[in-house]
Structures are given as structure tokens and as C-alpha cells.
Amino acid sequence: MAQGFSRRGFLLRAGAVGCSAAASPFVTPMSFAATPWDNRLVVIILRGAMDGLDAVRPWGDADFAVARPGLVAGRDAALDLDGYFGLHPALGALMPLWRAGELAAVQAVSTPYRDRRSHFDGQDLLEAGGMSLAGGVKDGWLNRMLQGVPGATAQTTYAIGQESMLLTSGAAPVSNWAPDVDLSLSAQGVRLLEMTMQDDPGLAAAMAEAVRLADADGDAVVAEDEGERMAMMQGKALRGGKGHLRIADFAALQLREAARVASFSIGGWDTHVNQANTLTRPLKRLAEVILRLRDGVGPKVWGKTTVVMMTEFGRTVRENGTRGTDHGTGGAMLLAGGALRGGRVYGAWPGLAETALYDRRDLLPTSDVRAWAAWAMRDAFGIERSQLEARVFPGLDMGDDPGLLL
């Protein structure tokens, strides 16, 4: 019984019933060569509604300072972007990227979501990519983009982190991993695990993929003896470090190799109270993640990389009664990467005069956040506009080509 089997058997069988293991390296060793593109795309979902007006401050608009007397201190020349907009101080570490043309923002964007201002629906729509949530949601736009790409395998796309994301869910194979798991068991154990799960395709496919990823991200799963296995599993628990940086490191590692698309989330943006303090931490994290990604992939890959950072909606123009901001409509998205035509703030600025606001309270969206993601994918991967408007983002009008990438 102890001879003549391997992980390979598990993966082959699980691959036959599930989708994500179908492209495992044990099954299709040529998948590296089959990588569909050379460019890279990273999508970061900022969960909780990032305040775009605070991240990319419209100092040139006289109504800005009036709307937020308790929120923003003075204008800082070192953080000036283009004479009109300025960065939040917590994003200051990204100024060199801005000067190098590797950072951009888009102001006054939103999804088609209006009026309810619920995080959960807002995020679902942002990730589902359609016009509304009516009729239910079955997959995410990043996954639908991949569905039309011949040669896209599970290694092409990584969803990173402990939660599963709607954005990457769907029929196309995607690897999902949080880089702090390690497994260690005997070859016999792997074989028996396969056997017990064979009537449950869902569990089997997820387990097979887990074994493959755990094998790939450092220590081998199958260890020689029991003592070694216990020691390995206890050792991994000691590896420390900040979660968001581990995620950036793992993304960089994959993007240097076969991966072309990576996605993860950063939370903490729901700043109802005392925003001057509460927004600093997530912004700093975001800046750290971008710099870590850039350093991790190295200059060559960074030159082919576009990072898209988007959030479910913006926040109220006026600060609320608790020195924070409430759920709004129009917001900002951020873009980074060596592939980007950066150093500019894209999007039409609607102004902050009360009559210019949406519902007299929110920044009026002047473009669809999906259109910018669509142009990024058109430019980076050559996805056809017709595909993007019909299948990836149903109902979207991409408008004129903004020339987002170099």
C-alpha cells in the first residue's frame, strides 16, 4: 500500500473533478510556456470605502477646506501632485513614484451603485462588475476576464489572503492562498486524504489545490518522518511579520514567476470617527504594500506591472458630527506601476459646490470605476473592448481611450 502513489495521483484525480487543480504543475508541466501575456496586473480592493477626497485632496477647489474644517491641516507643498491635488501625508512615501510617473489617481469615480450606501452591496457590485445586483451574483469581473483567455491556468491568477473574494470567483481557475499556512504529512496520508474525499468534488478540488500551494511556497508537504513533520508544522507558526507585507511578498514571488494577475484586499477604510487618525494606518499600509511589491518583483517586472486600487464608494464631502465622514458616492481610485502613464490625476473634476454634489452631499461621479479597470486590462493584456463591455463589465461604456498605460 505504501508504494506506487504520490501527490500526483491526488492532483490528477481532483483535477478531473474540479477546476482549480486542472492546471497544476504535476498535470501540465508546460504551463509556464503557456502563460498568455507578459504584463502584470494587481488589483487591490480597499474594503470599507476609502475617502478619496482625503487620500487625493482637491486643494485647488475652494470648497474643499470649507467642507472639512476639522479634518485637514494645511496644504503641504512636498505632497503637491499637480498644483490642484495633493496627497494625504500618509501616502507621502509614494511621492517618488509620482515623480517617476509610476503613480496616478482617478478622481470622481464610482460603480453604478447608488443611494443605498451599504458596504456589503457596494463591495459586491464593485467585484461583480455589473450594473446592479438584481438577479444575484455568480462570479467576479476579474474571473470573467480570465474566462476568455486561452492558456490562463490556475497559476496565472492568485487571490491572496485568508478570505475568499468575489472578484476572483467563477469558472476560470484561480489560485487562492494565504502565505502563512504549512502542511506536513506522510505520502500515505496524502493518498488516504484523496481517497476519503473522492466523492466530494468541491472539497477534493480545494484540498488538492491546498496541497499544491503548500508544496510550492516553501517546505514540501510530504516529509520523511513523523518527527520532522511535527517540527515543521510547529516551526511555521513562529514565522512572524506583518500580514500585509507577507501578502505583498507572496504576490511579488508569484508575479516574478508564472503569475500575471494577483488580487488581495486591504481593510480599515470605514472612517466614521476621528478620521485624521483612523485613515492614517490603512493609507500607510497601502503605501508600504506598493513599495514592497515594486521592490519584490524587481525593476524588469515592475516595468510591466499595473496596480489598480479601488474601493466600493467614496465618502460624504462634508465631515460628519464625529470628525469623520459617512458613506458617500463618488470617490477616488489609485493606480501604480512601471507600466503606467502616471504622474497625473485622471478623471473630470465635478467640483464641490453644493449644487455640484450628488444628492447635495456626495462627490458627483463623473466616470465609472470599471472603465478605468477595463482600459488597464485592454492595454496590459489586449482584451478586446467588445469583450470588456459585454462580458467582463456588462453594461459598461468605456468611453474614450485615456491612454492609461505606456
Partner: protein, 460 residues
Amino acid sequence: MGFDPIRAEMRFGYGRSPVIGAPTSIDAMLEGVAGPDVMAERFAIAPFEEVRARVILRRALRKQIKATDASQAERDAAITEQKALYKAAYQDGLHWLRQTMQRRVWTSTGFRERLATFWGDHFTAYGKMQVLRAGTGPYLDEAIRPNLAGRFEDMLIAAVRHPLMLHFLDQDKSVGPNSDLAQKAAGRGLNENLAREVLELHTLGVDGPYTQDDVRQLAELFTGLNWTPHKGAIFRKRAAEPGAETVLGRRYGAAAEIAPVEDVLRDLARHPATARHIARKLAVHFVADVPDRDLVAAMEARYRETGGDLVAVYEAMLRHPAAWRAQAGNIKRPEAFVSSSLRALAVPEDVLGAWKSGRINRQLRQPLARMGQPWQRPLGPDGWSEEDRAWITPQGMAGRLQWALGVPEVLRQEVPDPRDFVEVALGPVVPERVRFAARAAESRREGIALVLMSPAFQRV
């Protein structure tokens, strides 16, 4: 299909135990929900009052640390005391995680513990500052557990008025724009967070018949709801928005007092949209992602007939044949996976009881996070996903396998023989493949893990 004691344990409880018998009937299951709360007494969690006391102490220490006339030594002493305070709060949180697990391992009314979890999730609340972070355990024991067998409206009111909920959804920051307080202290205003979630998550549901205007008017009605570290829940007249408010077409009294707030909550609780929302959510949680329509309809009808008598709704579920279908149902969430593993292993009370906080962290808290369910910290007020696909991920499965392989570390005593364990955990109908795996495993450790990872154990 109807009542089956094994399925009652697996689907409606925290799984089988080698030392505690299964319920004998639906009546027994329902009686178990209503009787004295034996588990809460045996594995106690402190009252929220103790959490409040920490907030008071923290305020005093902050004042001391910032005081301009304090000496360096005095300031240092306060900083040291503050660190100790944070540590104690953190350790309490771990202790209460252990107590919750103990309740699930030792209960003979598993359905009650599952309901406590379900409703605690429905009314998700957690602390957003260090000393309040452990507050969820006490909140659940005060607002949720005593109301499991009552009317939905009573649980709703208890949850909405609880200090932790008021803190979590920023109600304690909200002030009526035309209230006395707003006149005197400029820059204080309305916060809609709690009102929105009450409509969207707690009562009518996100597809419910409400508008942005209902949210705002409900938020204005709520403006008196508050709490203080000294008194707990209070009604703060000075912050209450004057005048009547209209929610879903009904006017609620102009008097700035608690009565109209309770009125609107009772009306929301009895609304047909709430009946539908709650019936469906219970059926999805206990039976399947796409529950039998007739089952949901029966529960919804009972809810409406009884005005939200929860035991009647539970009974409608348990008396319906679709609740007992033989087909495997939902995947256990990580918490239930861990709890039911501990229960099947009958981890001795004093073993778990003797764990220091570091061990609770390593063996329970961190693994739960790795499986995708950090303890009492869902991403937002909508709680944990009911969808199986949210949990059946490579990451989630890897976390479960890693934990299952670590069972010897949990027990620190001889691991049971997998051949016996498989009968205890799954019996009497054990899938032949799992029985074979338990026998063929190379070590006891892997044998136990294989049983815990089997679809028969994970899907109920």
C-alpha cells in the same frame, strides 16, 4: 424523513460526543433551548460591567499620562498600568474563547449553543478599541443568550440597546442635529450607521421595503440611545432629536424617550419582510445554502402567526421533513469544525481549562483565523458568510488540515485509536472509505486528521 438523533447532533448541534447522549426528540431539542442556561453558569464569561470598568480605568490612566503637572515617575507608572490593563483585556478574550468552546463540548443541548452562535452572528458586534475588544463574549451572554427562546423583538431591542452594539455601529457618536447637545456643542451630528444596519441586516433585509429617508428618520429616532462606562445603557435626552419621525410610513412619538424607539423596533421585528428574512436565514444556516422553499414558507408563516415567537419558528423548522433530509448539507464553518472536533475528542474539561492564554492563542485563535474565521472578528456587521463556497477554499482546507494534524498538541495525552474515533465522530453509518482510511493511516495522528477532514465529518 423526520427526527433522527444523530442528525440532530450533527446538523443542529456541535456534533457527536462519546460521553454525552444525543437528544431523544424534537420536543427535547426545543425544551433544551428554553431551560436554565446550565452551560453559561458552568463556563462563565464576565458581565459587560467588568469591560466597562476597564474603560473607566483606561480613561483615568490616559488623563494621568497626559497630565502636565504629573511627574515622570507618575506618568511611567500609569503607562505600566495601562499596558497591564490591555494585557488583562486580551487574556480575558482568550479565556472567553475557551469558555465558549467548553460550552460546545459539554452541552447536552447542542441546538441551544448553535442558536446562540447563529444569533450572535446575526447581531454581530465587537469592540473597536483595545479594552472593548473582548466585549463580544459578555455582550452575547447579556443580549443574545437570554433571548434565544423569546420573541425576536426582545432580542432585537436587547442587542440594539447594548453598549457594545452602540459602540460598534457608532450610535454613541450620534447626536440629533436639532437637539440641545448639538446647539451647545458645535460639530456634533447625526450618524446613520446603526439605523442602516438595523434595517438592512437585523430586520427587513437588504432587499426590504425601506428608503434612504427611512434610514435617516430611524437614525433621528435613535439619537437618544447611548451608554456610559459608569452606567451602561442610557437614554440621553439632550442628544435626542426633537419631533416625531416617520419610518415605513408610521409616525413615532415626539417625546424624547425610549418608548418610541422600542415601538419602532417592535414594528420592524413584526414586519412581514423581517419574517421572510429571518425564516430564510435560519433555514440557510441550519439546512442548506438553497433551502427547501416549503420549509422556508412554513417557518415564515409561523413567524407571522406568532409575531416572531422564536421557539415556534424553530419548531416549524424541526417539524418539517426537509430539515432532516439525508443528503449532506452545509459545510461546517471553521468554528463549528473546531468545536465539533473538540467535542468528538471529548477533550477533558480540565485539560482545556488549564491552558494559559498563549496556548489558547496558538491552538484555537490563530488556527481559526487561518481557516478564514478570526474569532469574533468578521469583516463587518453582516457577520460570517452563509455560503459554503466562502469556506471551501484551498486556504480554508489547508487551515483545517493543519489544525487536524495538530490534535496531539491539543490533547497532550494519548490520541484515541482512529478506528474507534471514526465510529464516535461519525457513527453509526460510517462511510466505508473513511473507515478504511482510519485503519490504514500510518500514525494515529494522521488517522484522526483523516476522520476530521472527511466530507462526512465536515458536511452536515
